[in-house]
Symmetry: C2
């Protein structure tokens, strides 16, 4: 069963089951994961990375404000009134080879630009704080129509975000994303091999020092 | 409003408000946080660490399985049926000075032992995986009656957990916790200065290498 979140994300209420039907699993083997949302692709990749001892990264649960809970006899508690809350942090974090990894995943249907309204101030603040503590911080951007994926360093997002505050553009041009990011390709195992890009970010950071 | 979770944890539905009333805030200044739950003490400490650029550590939201959502007109979405799920990970993670930090917090009313049934297999598995990736992994144990707090390295927990699997004891003796852990004292700012202990864990790990 799928539920549309207020912000347009899709929530799968049985995340323990594979989100792929048999036929889409076949398609996947041939064409890659074109039918999956970015969130599903990252979750599948994280499962692969965990099972292969490559990285331990999870999506955080969506924060819920609970107002009313029933405790039926001989049955588990049922939440009867609750509301979606905005997260204080980014959606994903974890550990890779001794490094703290923190990122947000964003899809856009635009072909030439990435609108900055995809971010909230608190997500930018969180990424800045994590980077200050030595974390590897970035955004995975999926251009749905172009079928292109980028691992964009948080610094590039900060640059445009802060410029926007001073009457700069309200979006990032595709060419700026291409120039500043590491492009990754949808694949089979893992679905989205973004850890290769994380490794590159780490190495380029070392070179800077 | 407080809700009792099935596992006995207390959930505060308005976490953005201070859990302290004015009078308990006064008490806190004099006697430390004796009236707070361990979760509240850690959350307060994490707030302090974030605001002082010392560490960026959060409690993860409790995972909820959502079954039914109403979308009233001109009003925000209301969750009408949902269930508590078991987390796949520990409750807390984040970054401190370049290190990935991952831990679980446990209270016990026992005075001499710490029962291993406070853990689930998946939490142990998660801590082992994070440690393998170079994360700093531990448990904060609060002996409620003794008013003593310990930062216990994950290795000590693994030792007893694995022994239990081979017909070993189903709990850890207080003396073993004392010998293997770093004791911390409840304080004012931060409420529970556990990052000092994390720094010690990091330094003792370096000495081993």
């Amino acid at each position: 069963m799928k539920i549309n979140y207020p912000d347009g994300q899709v929530f799968n209420s049985k995340p323990s089951q594979s989100p792929l039907s048999e036929s889409s699993a076949k398609k996947k083997m041939i064409f890659g994961d074109r039918g999956m949302t970015l969130e599903e692709e990252i979750n599948e990749s994280n499962k692969y990375y965990r099972s292969h001892d490559i990285a331990v990264i999870y999506k955080k649960p969506t924060p819920i404000q609970i107002v009313k809970v029933d405790y039926p006899k001989r049955s588990r508690a049922v939440i009867r009134e609750a509301y979606f809350r905005h997260a204080s942090t980014t959606d994903y974090n974890g550990v890779y080879n001794g490094y703290y990894v923190d990122f947000e995943a964003k899809e856009t249907k635009n072909k030439n630009i990435f609108p900055l309204k995809n971010f909230h101030q608190h997500q930018i603040d969180h990424l800045k704080m994590c980077q200050k503590q030595g974390g590897i911080c970035f955004v995975i951007i999926k251009y749905v129509e172009l079928k292109r994926y980028f691992v964009t360093p948080a610094d590039e997002i900060f640059l445009h975000w802060d410029a926007q505050k001073n009457d700069g553009a309200k979006s990032i041009q595709l060419k700026d994303i291409v120039n500043s990011s590491i492009e990754i390709k949808s694949d089979y195992n893992p679905t989205l091999p973004y850890i290769n890009a994380v490794q590159q970010l780490i190495e380029s950071g070392k070179e800077k020092k």
